[in-house]
Symmetry: C2
Subunit: 352 residues, 2 copies
């Protein structure tokens, strides 16, 4: 009988730190670019439209000797039952033998790898001297996106947060942001005094403000991260100044849209996976509306990380990173968790 490790959410959170997750997600992108990783077709099912659905994202990273899947259920009625609306898991198998290795709940992995993806967009596509970060959305993902960006960008001075539905929520989010960032993300670096001090300084130095005027906030921004379930563009083309970078992580199904489709024609557009981006990503609507074509996508982000394709060509370029979220990010992160858990004897070892 084959051993199979199950790691609970609390331990997943303890085992992950943003610096490692950024490295892991970059590796999943570069392995994909080097044809040592690929996505399998997405399975999506609506039990009841707008009420309950699930998807299965799977793929392999033979370059990391793993394959596997992430299943995410969204059940809108769950909170009334005392359950989270999003539940699911990531399950990893060995691509040399097909043997299941282990699994864990999907929530912490998803938050960390999605946060990392937004930061990676900024790292490779924003101007190095970017100072003003605008976050559109103040939900669960927001602290993860802010932390990953602070980690990879040295000069951030201001973080502006906008919530299209509730300014109050943005204000409340901002009031506790710095404490939250320190509590949630810094503990893993206590043993590395220099890194710890650097990150602490980056958090302490930023000015945090809730925006009620999205036009003005956009006009000031060097980097815009969007993480909402919006189906209407929140950012208008006219507001975006030359040189801005936008990382969009919210769109993950047909019809979702966070930024103006008219931003696409003049921008340098990068994606995590071309197929997924044109079907369910931020890139989908511009293509459907005819302002953009699949062929206009400059490259997948892995190509930029590897230095095969230049990111921005000038300080005036508007760059867009459409991060749809791919199974490879989850799998490589889950594999790291399982290896760490094995080394430290964490989790439950069952037998199949």
């Amino acid at each position: 009988m084959l051993p199979f490790r199950v790691v609970d959410q609390e331990h997943v959170e303890q085992l992950l730190d943003m610096k490692h997750v950024i490295q892991l997600v970059e590796r999943s992108y570069t392995l994909k670019e080097q044809n040592e990783a690929a996505l399998f077709p997405l399975v999506f099912h609506e039990f009841s439209p707008g009420v309950a659905d699930m998807d299965i994202k799977s793929g392999h990273l033979t370059g990391a000797d793993i394959f596997g899947l992430k299943l995410v259920s969204w059940f809108g009625g769950n909170p009334a039952k005392g359950l989270p609306p999003l539940v699911g898991f990531v399950l990893v198998l060995d691509s040399r033998t097909g043997v299941p290795v282990g699994m864990m709940g999907g929530e912490a992995v998803t938050l960390m790898r999605t946060g990392a993806a937004g930061g990676i967009g900024a790292k490779y596509l924003a101007r190095r001297d970017s100072e003003n970060l605008l976050l559109v959305g103040s939900g669960h993902l927001a602290p993860f996106l802010i932390m990953s960006t602070l980690m990879v960008m040295e000069h951030i001075k201001k973080v502006t947060v906008y919530n299209a539905r509730s300014h109050e929520k943005a204000v409340s989010f901002c009031s506790s942001l710095k404490d939250k960032l320190k509590e949630k993300f810094l503990a893993p670096y206590e043993a590395d005094a220099e890194l710890y001090r650097t990150l602490l300084r980056r958090i302490d130095i930023i000015e945090v403000a809730a925006a009620d005027d999205i036009q003005r906030a956009t006009e000031e921004a060097d980097i815009i991260l969007t993480a909402t379930p919006s189906r209407q563009p929140l950012i208008k083309k006219e507001w975006v100044k030359p040189g801005t970078h936008l990382s969009c992580v919210g769109a993950d199904m047909e019809g979702k849209q966070e930024i103006d489709e008219n931003l696409f024609p003049a921008a340098r557009v990068f994606v995590d996976d071309i197929t997924q981006a044109v079907h369910v990503g931020e890139t989908e609507v511009p293509i459907k509306k005819g302002t953009f074509a699949k062929e206009d996508i400059v490259a997948e982000i892995g190509s930029v990380i590897l230095g095969k394709t230049p990111g921005r060509l000038s300080d005036d370029d508007i760059t867009i990173y459409d991060s749809t979220g791919i199974a490879l990010q989850d799998l490589i992160t889950a594999d790291y968790i399982l290896k760490q858990a094995e080394a430290r004897g964490i989790g439950v070892v069952a037998r199949l």
Copy 2:
């Protein structure tokens, strides 16, 4: 954190008995027919053609409040590493909340549900007075198919086993068959004296013989079950007498074929799932060769079980059941195991 149960293979074997599995598989078929269950698209990936592949079969049985998936890896090089070539798992979630419930290795579930499917084909499509059972293939599945057929057919007097590659293997299989059936399948019925005696008698009464002449064996057979990885028809049309039933469980991917495509035009053909049958089942090759059409399939088996479509119309009909193997069989069986395991405190309860 959500509890999640993992049941090991030994306990899965203890918790399953063929009578229940036949009932469960019939229920998965009838729920599908009643639109209370459906398959999601199949994901298939070849890591290396002919050497290593994997598939993910998923679906939901809202009628049983579950959904989930089975992942099966086939790695031809595993035996040299001391591992089984086929490994995988079945994982069940609650379709009212999306919450993962539990999982187990896939091997025992697959053998039982596939064995049950062959018997169900005979139960609904063979002549009630069938006496001669021919099994083509003497691999892992053979005892499961024979037991399920003995369970549902009262008059079996002879079981003939044919192995196209090795007559010796068929002879060896036959020499231990009766003991194997008793050991493997009867223990669960010790508490039910009447059923136990009935099944014991059915096993004791049969004459078991290895065939070296497949033409003669076919000519004698009332029921033919095929369970091989063949890509060439092993059963010729001319040999099959009127009134014969054939259940084919071997074909599960493109190009596999066990029986003559010319048997199809004059036969009443039933399948477990039309989409899967025409793409990867025994029905695929006849359609590709033009001797049969998708529209010629009489019905899915669930319709026969529900009495909506008649099985055979006369004692002279040749009936075919193309059992491709669907995720619903695995899911309903796995759900039963998890409920039994919970009731008896079996397996490891981890937390996600």
